[in-house]
Symmetry: C2
């Protein structure tokens, strides 16, 4: 029989109607001649009542029902006589079942299908099809789907062409490690799964498509962290003949359409702030500031240069910085011991200690208060601190100061409930350095990627490697609530500039040719000015779903070991399978599976 | 400067307006003080005129222009004084250029950017970014994009949830060979790139999403033929609680929305015929009949059982068939020699010879005419053949007859121009056998895939292997113009039926567990009745674009050796890269590329 309604969407409007429903048994209460069943489908719950009065045969079916059985029922919508549930759309009604049928039985599930699941992450992944039945997971994946639907609609309406680029591609040194795919036809040769469609989309601009987009999977064989997955999804766009501000304006409209369709939020695009990278670092100590709250970093470097507190004076003397944040009203919230813990925490950023002050009715308090007897008023004026506030300081090289105070700022904001969770704080970060120095490896790498166009006036800086390291880029990141949502840039469309860029990255002409020869050659045949961006779908979905774990918005994610506990992938394969690829591996599977061949 | 218009869209409506255009130089005619340039962008061409009168500096720029230079111009739209081109939207106007700027220069391209390209396929793929500039390729990929846009719109509007399934998945014996991806974290273990999202979408129905869709890449490591690519794209949907006819009705509406958006065709879904598999085989000799023309197979088996032509009588006696097609008005078009060639052609299907008759004013003519002196009128009545028609026969086992006459039917239709190229002939083929016999390997395989639900009344046939081979399936193929567009079925949602099915396919219980254990286990926790379909995007785009080569609708396809001539993928990788995976290969690359690491 055809379903007439989703269970979760029935309400008083349907009173008296006969409905056909299909779904899962969430709960069953047996009162003998009367059985209540909560029926669940993707839209929610409805209460079914089975009784002698209405149908003896249906009551008999109800008698056999257990949790997670799949059933089909037909019945009449009536007002509940008791037990009205104000939290459900269907909370005032019930369906009095006239006929019922079991479509599938179910064993007892390893955990309850409930938002408050008490199972381990590993168990949830092993029984992912059960985990995904939980309303919160249904909601999360529907938000994700709405993001892509809004994206397709907006970009198609705006003349973007959805073009698929290969997943079996060439290994290029774009950043992380590639996943390789051995070729059977060319033994010893490998495809690589793309780390992004970057090169292909530039070639598509060279091909004159003008506006490209793709919801594209990307692959990186990196060490996995909480928010990393071996495969992830990019909302990838590229345009020709548009400059940075035109692209930003377009992306704003696109993102506004997503916010509207997913969380019914009217984004005022003209209120999205644009910060230079430098300003963002100065004011927040990070290139992805969380603008849902203030607590900006206050630069006290010149204020402290003659401080009697030698830690501060020395930091200034060593070309370092002294900065502070003011945590409003937090003076009484943190004991000396609490703040010792924070001092320990910031050691990971290279900070040696955490100087702090409390502003009280009786002036500054704390271990270093004595150094500010003379200029207390000036310090309070410089920091805008008021009675009851807590001041914490960092005094060190710029990178240490930034790292420590960024982390503390976010930590204090969370602890002090200063974050407006209803807020969607977007920001654009522009004017990035073209290169960034990697102290661990003592070398310079692209801040974005090797195809990023320098600022017009910085192009000639590329003539020397040292100059190149001073150059700034036409690149722009979109930030939301302290997360980097996406990263874009104007691309290099001229071979001479691209060659210089690769040279500055340490490529010999020969190596550049080997890695990117096809792109460099393409640029000789009239490539247009171009630029684009890629938004991280997983992260966007994660933020809009209100979770902090990327796995909560992916249907079948990998665990922290890169495995998928349900199917147990990856697994060893048979010796025969590898022999076809002319590869040898450390272990082989002794597989029992017949080789099906079919089309 | 911001573009005001696409070149190809300017017409008389814009007379007198100043426009800013960006694009490629298609052609340049230099008359000294007057230079004509055809400017191309993705929407088409417009004629630019550069003259002394309007701008000396622009004329100087025009002087340097060569084919495929990228330029930006500003100018006024005016009526052409001469050379009106009725084939162009912009054919009555020209843009009198006031200022011009070269954005990129170009070398002479290896082939002309023109629909009538004279380059080899290999050269076109090597310079794919140039090949894609050709208007026909632009059109093809835009049709493809419109198909996906229509799909997203229709399915989102109809409550389908776009859910991404993993590309790094488990190797399962579903049919073709898997592409493998070695895992670095688990050396010796491999992911497999999925041959379809089949298992995942069934699990998603088990998870209660009710309606799923995905534009999904799929991968098969098969020997490549003309219309096969290592990676291809499926428009993949799955639903719960719907039966076959409900799903077909839904797909009809979806396909109608695609036809409207791509080729402005109003598909009358209630006029789409539904044929059983058996009827299709009987009437057309194929399970994907081209219904743009008639010429159905005529069964003459009982008519011929006592034929004096022993070939026919023997075929009937041997439990074979005698069938014919009537090629209307073709009697004079084929000589005896032509028909000998056709006889040779059908040998590949196992046919021994090609009996034929011509219907003339003077009765039947041809080598076997003498056998029909007695019952000429009856034969003509049985075949509905008229004077001027050609009759060709096949007399053999059913599969040989079907193969030969299907091929001949399509061949004659093409040669005789019987195909209405304006027609979109959809059809549903239903009631397939559950299994099909593979004579080459002397075994039975799934006609669709191992998860296909048998017809309700055939479920008990699965109890024996022999019985299973007689069962029919709840599966349905959508056919368009003689191509299989997509293949769908109701799936098995109960473990007991699934186990029997795998058993009939030759799986021991142990092997079934190894290959599909996670699915079988899932079915024990309440899986709903479900069904779906996957349409082949590449093939659909190919048909709608009016080409017969799948590569013409893929941006960066592989060649027949599985290589991508532009990037040269696949390629050997370094010994170090493989050492990380603990693999050894027959060859290694001596790579010169520095290892960039960046985020």
């Amino acid at each position: 029989m055809q379903r007439t309604n989703y269970a979760g969407l029935i309400d008083e409007e349907y009173l008296g109607q006969t409905v056909t429903l299909q779904g899962w048994v969430q709960k069953r209460r047996d009162l003998g001649a009367l059985i209540f069943v909560d029926l669940r489908d993707r839209e929610g719950l409805v209460q079914l009542t089975f009784s002698d009065d209405v149908s003896e045969s249906a009551l008999k079916v109800a008698d056999q029902l257990r949790t997670e059985f799949v059933i089909e029922v037909q019945g009449k919508v009536a007002l509940r006589e008791a037990g009205v549930n104000p939290n459900l759309r269907s909370g005032k009604i019930e369906v009095q079942v006239q006929s019922a049928k079991i479509l599938a039985t179910a064993k007892t599930t390893p955990f309850n299908i409930d938002d408050n699941v008490d199972a381990s992450d590993e168990l949830r992944l092993k029984y992912r099809y059960l985990d995904l039945r939980r309303p919160v997971m249904q909601k999360n994946l529907r938000i994700r789907s709405k993001i892509t639907a809004a994206t397709h609609e907006f970009l198609d309406d705006n003349g973007f062409i959805d073009i698929e680029t290969p997943y079996l591609a060439k290994s290029t040194p774009e950043g992380a490690r590639d996943y390789l795919v051995p070729s059977r036809v060319n033994p010893g040769s490998f495809y690589a799964l793309p780390q992004s469609p970057q090169l292909f989309k530039q070639l598509l601009m060279g091909a004159g498509f003008d506006r490209y987009y793709q919801v594209a999977r990307a692959f990186r064989d990196e060490d996995l962290r909480g928010d990393r997955q071996p495969e992830f999804t990019q909302l990838d766009v590229e345009t020709s003949f548009m400059n940075q501000s035109e692209i930003i304006a377009l992306v704003n409209e696109w993102v506004a359409s997503i916010m509207k369709k997913t969380v019914s939020y009217e984004l005022k695009t003209d209120e999205i702030p644009t910060l230079t990278w430098q300003a963002s670092m100065d004011r927040f100590g990070t290139d992805k500031p969380d603008l849902r709250f203030d607590m900006e970093l206050i630069d006290l470097t010149s204020f402290m240069q003659n401080s009697t507190f030698s830690v501060f004076a020395k930091a200034v003397a060593n070309q370092g910085q002294v900065k502070a944040i003011v945590v409003p009203g937090a003076a009484d919230s943190y004991s000396r011991k609490d703040l010792d813990k924070k001092a320990q925490f910031v050691e990971r950023f290279g900070a040696k200690g955490l100087p702090w002050l409390k502003v009280t009715d009786e002036g500054l308090k704390g271990p270093i208060a004595k150094f500010f007897n003379e200029n207390e008023a000036e310090l309070l004026a410089a920091t805008n601190a008021n009675v009851g506030d807590l001041l914490v300081f960092a005094a060190d090289q710029a990178s240490v100061v930034a790292g420590s105070l960024d982390a503390l700022r976010r930590m204090f904001a969370k602890e002090q409930n200063l974050i407006d969770e209803q807020k969607w704080a977007f920001a654009w970060i522009i004017d990035w350095p073209l290169f960034e120095y990697q102290p661990e490896e003592d070398r310079w790498i692209s801040a974005h990627h090797p195809f990023t166009m320098p600022n017009e006036e910085d192009i000639e800086l590329l003539d020397t490697v040292e100059g190149a390291h001073q150059a700034h880029a036409q690149s722009y990141d979109l930030v939301l609530n302290g997360y980097e949502l996406g990263s874009g840039s104007i691309r290099i469309h001229r071979m001479d500039i691209q060659e210089k860029m690769l040279q500055a990255l340490g490529f010999t002409p020969e190596a550049a040719q080997e890695a990117f020869g096809f792109l460099l050659e393409g640029m000789e045949y009239g490539f247009p000015p171009m630029g684009g961006i890629a938004l991280g779908l997983d992260r966007l979905a994660m933020i809009l779903a209100g979770t902090e774990n990327i796995r909560e918005v992916i249907a079948f994610p990998k665990n922290s070991k890169g495995s998928e506990p349900m199917t147990e992938a990856p697994l060893p394969v048979s010796k025969q399978q590898l022999a076809e690829l002319e590869l040898t591996a450390p272990v082989y599977a002794d597989t029992k599976t017949p080789n099906l061949s079919e089309e």
